[in-house]
Symmetry: C2
Subunit: 136 residues, 2 copies
């Protein structure tokens, strides 16, 4: 069968993303976390007392969609909120959240290593810079 999409960078970009995100989602199942949850937790860990709106701007997540996400993280005991002023609240990881994220990060690191291992040596170092050029 002829494959008219064989030389399309756009199509391969999409398929590669779907394949890798599917694999990552599988790895995160054991933690009852989705990819967005983890990226938000990482943002909070790296920027204590950050607000939900600031995370949303950084990760391109609508403010409205942050609400149920943060609610779930809080109910799971992973994050806590502390008022900054009358309308903003700073987010932090709980001790449990930090410990849990450490475990998750081990899984993420294995995923990242596995991803890069799939790429032939001569192309590996070019992947991240090329991808970053497409959106950053």
């Amino acid at each position: 069968m002829r494959d008219p999409l064989k030389d399309s960078a756009g199509y391969s970009l999409r398929r590669a993303s779907i394949a890798m995100m599917g694999e990552l989602a599988q790895r995160l199942l054991a933690f009852d976390l989705r990819m967005a949850d983890v990226s938000v937790m990482m943002m909070i860990e790296a920027n204590a007392r950050i607000t939900a709106s600031a995370i949303g701007r950084a990760l391109d997540i609508q403010r409205a969609n942050m609400v149920p996400l943060l609610k779930k993280l809080e109910e799971s005991g992973l994050i806590s909120r502390a008022p900054i002023d009358g309308k903003s609240q700073g987010l932090s990881l709980t001790e449990y959240g930090k410990a849990r994220l450490a475990q998750v990060r081990a899984e993420i690191d294995a995923f990242e290593a596995g991803l890069l291992a799939k790429v032939p040596d001569e192309h590996r170092g070019h992947l991240l810079p090329a991808l970053d050029a497409l959106w950053r």
Copy 2:
């Protein structure tokens, strides 16, 4: 603000895909076609009388989801169906479909060129092989 996702190939892969697919979707709006529609039309053009199931297997689209997609393409006059045997039907582009796809392909080509143009010279040639290694 610290960005803990700066060195993540997985995250950049996802963001790059979202950014590029968003741009492509915008370009296809004028044709009232989605990305899946175009990839299916390309498969039909390159493999006349292919079946819906075969396209689904090649593009990783569930058979069930091919039904409304093909229905729309047929109602738009872009494709036609001809019975192969009692249970299979071969798909073909209509003359209008071929002409329309030629127009769409010009847009796609511009999109692909624009995508590659975003990537610095020294990384450009590595993008497609690296992406293909992640899913093909």
